[in-house]
C-alpha cells in the first residue's frame, strides 16, 4: 500500500467509527425524547445513562475527522473547506444547540422539557445532514468559477432527490443502530422490559434502512453515474453486507433458554458488520476520488515527512489512550449497577 492508501484507510476508519458512534449518540438522544413522558418504561433513562458520559467522547471523533483530513490530505481540506462552508456551518450550529441544550436539560428542571425537545430534534437531523456530504463528493454539485474558485451549487443540491434520499438513509440508519445498541445495553443491565421496547422499534426500522439505502443508490445525480457502475463492480462487498444484515436482523428472534427471544449482542454486531462491509465496498468504489472529479487521494496526500510524523503520533496516542478507553468501557458499558441504577438521569456530582 502506498502512503495515500494508508492515509485514506485511517481516515475512513475514523469516519466509520464516528458514523456508528454518532448514530448511536444522536439516536439515543431521540429515543430519550420519545420515551421521556412514558412512565411505564425506563427506556428514556437507559438512553440517558449511555448518553451522559459518552457524548463528549463521541464528539471528539468528529473533530478527529476534520483534523485527520487536514493532516493527511491538506489539498482536500482546501476543497472541502471551500465547498462545504454553508452546509457544515449549519451542522455546527445544530450540533452546538444539541450538545449544550442536552447538558442544560440535565442541570435545570425549570426548562428541562423544552431543552430536551430541542436537543433531541436537532440531534436527529445531524447524521442525515452529515451524510449529504456524500452526494456532494460524487460530483455534479460543485462548480469551479473562472478565477479557479470551487463553489457549491447549494440550490441545486436542495432541489435534487439524491439529497433527500441520503437524508432519509442517514436518519433511518441512525435510529436503527441506536435501537439495536440500546436494546443490547438494556439487556446487559437485565432490564428486559426496556429491551422489549427497543427490540420492537428495531424490528420495523431494519427493513426501512435497507429500503432507504436502495433508494439512495437509485436517486443518484446523473453526474454520479460513475459510482453506481463501480458499486456494481464491488458486488461481493454488498452481498456480504446484505447477508450480515440478514444474520443480525434475524438474531432479534433467535430463541433463548429463558426470557424474551433475541440475542441483541449478535444483532448489533452483525448490523455494524453490515455497515462496515457496505462502506468498504462504497469506499473502494469511491477511490481514488475524494471529491469527484477534482481531487484524488494521490494529488491531495501530504508530504512524506509529515505523513511519517502523523503515523508516529497516532501510534503513541492510541497506546496512551487505550487504558483510558478500557476504563471508560468498564465503568459505563459493562457495569450493570451503573446502567440499571436509580431513576434519575442526572449526575451525582
Amino acid at each position: 500500500m502506498n502512503q495515500a492508501t494508508i492515509a485514506v484507510s485511517i481516515l475512513w476508519a475514523f469516519i466509520f467509527a464516528y458514523a456508528i458512534l454518532g448514530s448511536v449518540d444522536f439516536g439515543a438522544g431521540f429515543w430519550a425524547l420519545v420515551y421521556d413522558r412514558n412512565k411505564n418504561t425506563r427506556a428514556a433513562q437507559i438512553a440517558n445513562r449511555y448518553l451522559s458520559p459518552s457524548w463528549e467522547v463521541t464528539n471528539v471523533f468528529l473533530v478527529l475527522i476534520a483534523v485527520a483530513l487536514v493532516g493527511f490530505f491538506p489539498k482536500a481540506a482546501y476543497w472541502f473547506g471551500t465547498v462545504l462552508i454553508v452546509p457544515v456551518s449549519l451542522v455546527l450550529i445544530l450540533l452546538t444547540v444539541r450538545s449544550s441544550f442536552m447538558v442544560y436539560s440535565y442541570s435545570t428542571s425549570r426548562f428541562s422539557r423544552i431543552l430536551r425537545w430541542i436537543s433531541g430534534l436537532t440531534g436527529v437531523l445531524i447524521p442525515g445532514l452529515l451524510l449529504s456530504v456524500l452526494p456532494i463528493s460524487l460530483g455534479g454539485f460543485v462548480e469551479v468559477t473562472e478565477n479557479a474558485q470551487p463553489h457549491l451549487l447549494f440550490g441545486k443540491l436542495l432541489r435534487s432527490p439524491t439529497e433527500y434520499s441520503h437524508l432519509a438513509f442517514g436518519i433511518t440508519s441512525e435510529l436503527f443502530l441506536a435501537t439495536l445498541f440500546l436494546s443490547d445495553y438494556a439487556h446487559e443491565a437485565d432490564d428486559l422490559s426496556t429491551y422489549r421496547v427497543y427490540r420492537k422499534a428495531a424490528k420495523w426500522l431494519g427493513p426501512l434502512t435497507l429500503a432507504t439505502a436502495v433508494l439512495a443508490t437509485y436517486t443518484m445525480a446523473p453526474e454520479a453515474e460513475w459510482i453506481v457502475s463501480r458499486i456494481g463492480e464491488q458486488w461481493p462487498w454488498f452481498l456480504a453486507s446484505v447477508v450480515s444484515f440478514g444474520i443480525g436482523y434475524s438474531a432479534l428472534w433467535w430463541k433463548r433458554k429463558a426470557g424474551i427471544p433475541g440475542w441483541p449482542r449478535f444483532a448489533v454486531t452483525f448490523v455494524i458488520g453490515q455497515y462496515f462491509l457496505a462502506s468498504m465496498g462504497y469506499g473502494i468504489a469511491h477511490l481514488p476520488y475524494l471529491l469527484h472529479p477534482y481531487v484524488t487521494i494521490d494529488e491531495a496526500i501530504t508530504n512524506p515527512s509529515t505523513f511519517r510524523a502523523l503515523l508516529v503520533s497516532y501510534s503513541i496516542g492510541i497506546a496512551v489512550l487505550a487504558p483510558g478507553f478500557y476504563m471508560f468501557w468498564r465503568l459505563f458499558l459493562k457495569d450493570k449497577k451503573y446502567i440499571g441504577k436509580g431513576p434519575d438521569a442526572e449526575p451525582k456530582a
Binding site: 464528539n59 478527529l64 483534523v67 473547506g81 452546538t96 489512550l321 476504563m327
Partner: protein
C-alpha cells in the same frame, strides 16, 4: 465589508467566545485537583464539597466548551482554506496530538463526573489529574500552532508550493516555549480568580450564616494561592515574551509600544493612543529607558521602531491599548492577590470590604486580560496569517455567504451565553451550599 474582513470577524468572534470556556476549562480543573488534594491532606469535608460543586459548574461549562471548540476547529478549514492547506503540510502533528489530549480530557471528565462513587479515592484523584493534564496539554498544543504562525519555521514556501518540511523544526519554533507557558499559566490564573470572584461575592453579601462564610473563606484562600502563584509565573514569563518579541518579531513589539523611531534607551509607554501624525503615543505615561531594559535586560539595547518597516506591513496601531490592558490587568491582579494573602496570613486579619470588592471583579478582569492578550497576539500579526509567509487576505475563503453565517453565529453565541448564565443560576440556587456543609462543632 469584503469577505476577508467578514471571515476575520466571524472567526474572531467565535474564538473570543470559545476562549472564555476553553480558558475556564483549563483553569477550573486545576482548582478541582487542588481541592481534592487539600481534602486528602486536611480531611476537611469542605474541600470535597468544593470539588463537587466546581465539577458541576465545569460540567455545565463543558456543554458549551466542547461544541464551541468543535466550531472553531472545523471553521479553520471553512474560513481559512488557504491557510489550512499549508498547516496540513507543515504543522498538522500538534493538531493531531491535541485530539489525543482532547480524548484524555473527555474520557476522564466523564469518569470523574459519572463514576466518582464507584472509584477509589486514588483513582478519583488520578482521573481529575488526567482531566487537568488533558486540558492543559490541549492548550499547549493549540498554542503551538499559534506560535508557529507568529514565528514560522521548518519549511520553505515559494510560489504557493510548500517544500523542505521538517515537522520537528516547525513544532519547536522559537516562540513556542514562552507562548505556551504564558497561555497555560494565565489560564490557571484566570480559573483561580474566577472562583475567587464568586467566593468574594458571597463574603460581601450580608446575613450569610457563619458556617457558609467559613466555607467561602476557604475557597477564597485556595483561589488566592493559586491565583498569586500563577499570576507571578505569568508576569515573569511575560518578560521573556517581550524578549522573544524583541528578537523575532520586532515590528509587533514596536506596535505594542507605539515606538516609531529606532533607538537605544527606549521608553515604556503606558496607555495613551498611538498617533501616526505626531509619531508618538499621545496622552500616555512615559517611563524612560524601561522598554530597552525589558527587551534585552540592558538600558542601551537598541529597540526597532515602526518606521524601520514598510507601512503596508504595520499591524493596526490600537494593539498598543490591547497590550496595555493585558499587562495592567495581569500586574494588578498579581499585586492584589499578594496583598490579600499578606493580610490573611501574615497580619491574620479579615480582608477589608474594598479588597473583597476588588477580588470580586478579579475573575471578569482576568477574562478581559485573556481576551485582550489573544486579540493583541493575533491582530499584532496582521496583515499576515503566517508571519512573513502568507497574507491573511490570501488565506481566506472567497465565499459570498459569510455575512449571513456571521449573523447566525452571533445569534447562537448570544443565546448560549444567556442560557449558560441562567442555567448556572438555577442550578446553584436550587442547591444552596448550606445543607451540603457539615454543621459547626459544638452545635
Amino acid at each position: 465589508m469584503d469577505s476577508v474582513v467578514l471571515a476575520r470577524a466571524l472567526f474572531g468572534t467565535s474564538m473570543a467566545f470559545h476562549i472564555i470556556f476553553a480558558t475556564l476549562g483549563v483553569g477550573v480543573p486545576l482548582m478541582i485537583v487542588f481541592a481534592e488534594i487539600m481534602s486528602g491532606i486536611t480531611k476537611n469535608p469542605d474541600y470535597s464539597v468544593m470539588a463537587k460543586r466546581w465539577t458541576k459548574a465545569q460540567a455545565i461549562l463543558l456543554g458549551v466548551a466542547i461544541p464551541s471548540g468543535t466550531i472553531v476547529g472545523v471553521m479553520l478549514s471553512l474560513l481559512w482554506p488557504g491557510f489550512m492547506e499549508i498547516v496540513g503540510q507543515v504543522i498538522s502533528v500538534p493538531f493531531q496530538i491535541e485530539i489525543w489530549a482532547f480524548f484524555l480530557e473527555a474520557l476522564f471528565m466523564s469518569i470523574y463526573i459519572y463514576a466518582a462513587d464507584r472509584l477509589s479515592r486514588k483513582l478519583r484523584i488520578f482521573s481529575v489529574i488526567m482531566v487537568s493534564l488533558g486540558s492543559a496539554a490541549s492548550a499547549v498544543l493549540i498554542t503551538n500552532v499559534h506560535a508557529w504562525m507568529n514565528t514560522p519555521t521548518g519549511f520553505k514556501y515559494v510560489d504557493g508550493v510548500v517544500s523542505d518540511v521538517n515537522a520537528l523544526k516547525a513544532v519547536f519554533n522559537p516562540s513556542f516555549g514562552v507562548t505556551a507557558f504564558h497561555v497555560v499559566a494565565s489560564a490557571f490564573m484566570t480559573g483561580a480568580f474566577c472562583i475567587g470572584s464568586i467566593a468574594a461575592y458571597k463574603l460581601l453579601k450580608r446575613g450569610q450564616p457563619e458556617r457558609e462564610r467559613i466555607y467561602h473563606r476557604k475557597c477564597l484562600q485556595l483561589a488566592l494561592f493559586v491565583g498569586f502563584t500563577c499570576s507571578l509565573a505569568t508576569a515573569l514569563n511575560g518578560h521573556l515574551t517581550a524578549q522573544m518579541l524583541h528578537n523575532y518579531l520586532p515590528l509587533k513589539l514596536a506596535a505594542a509600544e507605539g515606538l516609531f523611531e529606532t533607538t537605544d534607551h527606549a521608553p515604556l509607554e503606558i496607555f495613551g493612543s498611538t498617533n501616526v501624525e505626531e509619531q508618538r503615543v499621545v496622552g500616555g505615561i512615559q517611563i524612560p529607558w524601561v522598554l530597552s531594559f525589558l527587551a534585552a535586560d540592558r538600558f542601551d539595547t537598541v529597540v526597532k521602531g515602526l518606521n524601520d518597516f514598510p507601512r503596508e506591513l504595520w499591524p493596526p496601531l490600537y494593539v498598543h491599548t490591547l497590550f496595555n490592558l493585558m499587562v495592567v490587568i495581569g500586574t494588578g491582579l498579581l499585586a492584589l492577590s499578594f496583598f490579600a494573602l499578606f493580610i490573611t496570613f501574615i497580619r491574620k486579619r479579615p480582608l477589608p470590604k474594598w479588597m473583597l470588592a476588588l477580588l470580586m471583579v478579579g475573575g471578569p478582569l482576568s477574562l478581559i486580560g485573556i481576551e485582550t492578550g489573544w486579540i493583541f497576539s493575533c491582530t499584532g500579526r496582521q496583515p499576515w496569517v503566517i508571519s512573513g509567509v502568507q497574507l491573511t487576505a490570501d488565506a481566506a475563503t472567497r465565499s459570498q455567504d459569510i455575512g449571513i453565517l456571521f449573523a447566525l453565529f452571533i445569534g447562537l453565541y448570544v443565546m448560549l451565553m444567556a442560557i449558560t448564565i441562567l442555567v448556572m443560576r438555577f442550578y446553584f440556587r436550587r442547591r444552596p451550599i448550606g445543607p451540603e456543609l457539615t454543621p459547626l462543632e459544638g452545635r
